[in-house]
Amino acid sequence: MIRVYLKRIIHFLPYALCYLLAFGFASICIITYGESFIFGDQYSYSQAEIAVCIADDSEYNEIGLNMVSQLDSVGETVELNKMDSEEEVMAAVSKGDCVAGIIIPEGFVNSLSTGENMQAQIYFKDDDSFIGKVVNDLLMTLANMLGTGQCVTITAYSYLSDKDISSSEMYAIGTDAQNRSIAYVLARSDLFDTESIDFLSTFSLKQKMTASYTVFLMVMSVFVFAYFYKGSNDAVMTRMKLSGKKPAVFFLMETGAVAVMMYILYLIVFVVLNILRLGVEAKSLLLMIPVILLVALIASALTYSIRKASTVSFITFGAGLVIMYLSGGLMPVEYMPKFFQTAALYSPVYHLIQYVLGAMFT
């Protein structure tokens, strides 16, 4: 009987795969090509342009501006547009081309080390306190970096001028002190080890979609595999009785056979995703087994309680689609309305997707 069932798998699987091919192809297209323009870049909405005018066009200012621009937090948040005059900055802000403008007056950099504390001017079109804080923090970072470097250099020169050393030695010590202080400022982020407590934030949008669409593909496969189950059929049950075979044996054998077919389907998904360089981990070949067994068992329970394959298929397609949507299986949870995001937390399928995400990616 087991041999016959293995033969059934060989005959049934190509038929099932043909049905699932179209869905799998559409999923891969969305994951590999459509993801950026359907869901957009997660960070693009936070890009804000800020106009900057530095009256004193010194080397220090250039270095400082470049340093700030290259910081990850700044680069992903704002774009600094350098302008030649205060009027240009005001016009850019007025027209709405830039969300804010910064005017750094002449002698500002020198004032950082002399204690004069000249003020830089920040302009906003709207009274937006968030933008104000962002720009103010940026300016503070810039001032800190330049000021720290300059203070150390000036202090070093002042201390060394009383000593009996050559000017070249003094220059070398001053430069070294400056480099060290700037290196310290640049490396400040290393003082803290940051780790997000949000499990999802460690995965990219592409990884999340790959995992959720894989679960969706498994759930939707029941739509086809419902026709594989025969043990629920009255005629087969009668036949089973005549042969003295137990329904539980049929139930387990059919569940096992469907799980084998689902696993073969996952193997194909695994190979295709890795050919497309989506980096699915080999450990998932083991970790997906419980998920597949669970889906196959639910499919068996559905088929044995409802019996008619077409009804099971209809329920899987209809109810499965809604449940998958509400669990973030079709659209990443963070792109859904707040209410649905909260509701998803109560869905077992949502947690199943999280498990698959962790199984497929690190």
Binding site: M1, R8, H11, F12, D234, A235, T238, R239, K241, S243
Partner: protein
């Protein structure tokens, strides 16, 4: 022996009451009735699939039931379908198909054909063969001749005769007039009652009245 005493059955809108049928070994019982009269429900009750609302059904022996909906698996061949149920090897099954009573059903002629490529007649022959190979003591047939051509009908009726002559009990539910010529007892299921076909009344008259 099959003994049905004061049985009442409920199924959807059908209510069948006062069913009393007794069949000894070697007898063929015909169940005649319009669609929805409860023929299939009564056979299911005899097979033990459906529980009667009241009354007692006693069956002595192994029951083989060939339903209208077959138990065949479409993507497998006739041989593999038979292998599903029997511990016999391929060779033993092939030998059985040509030498035993089931040889009259001629399944050996299409043993390697997949069920999905079979005609209705071939499926009926295969389903009956599959059941008969288990050598049941009681055979329940639900519309065994529906949709069959004349040679197929003749073959199946011959097998019913041969099975009955071998001491088996047959219950056959059908609309087909020719089946009842092979029955020892005929019961008419009408208006929720199951009563013997009155003497002098033909099957056609019983259905039309």
């Amino acid at each position: 022996m099959v003994d049905i005493t004061n049985v009442a059955l409920n199924y959807k809108k059908t209510v069948l009451t006062d069913v009393n049928i007794h069949a000894e070994n070697g007898e063929c019982v015909g169940l005649l009735g319009l669609n929805g009269s409860g023929k299939s429900t009564l056979l299911s009750a005899i097979a033990g699939i459906k529980k009667p609302a009241s009354g007692i059904i006693t069956c002595e022996g192994k029951i083989g039931f060939v339903t209208q909906e077959n138990a065949l698996i479409d993507e497998l061949s006739a041989l593999d379908n038979l292998r599903m149920w029997t511990p016999l090897s391929k060779e033993e099954i092939k030998k059985e198909l040509t030498s035993s009573d089931v040889s009259a059903l001629k399944v050996s002629e299409f043993v390697d054909v997949k069920v999905k490529r079979m005609s209705g007649g071939m499926k009926k022959r295969l389903a009956l063969t599959s059941v008969l190979m288990e050598k049941p003591d009681i055979l329940l047939l639900d519309e065994p001749l529906a949709g069959l051509d004349i040679p197929a009908k003749t073959d199946i009726l011959n097998v019913i005769d041969s099975y009955r002559n071998g001491g088996g009990i047959v219950f056959v539910a059908s609309h087909a007039e020719e089946v009842f010529a092979h029955c020892d007892k005929i019961f008419v299921l009408k208006d929720g009652k199951c009563s013997p076909l009155p003497d002098g009344v033909s099957v056609v008259q019983a259905i039309n009245d």
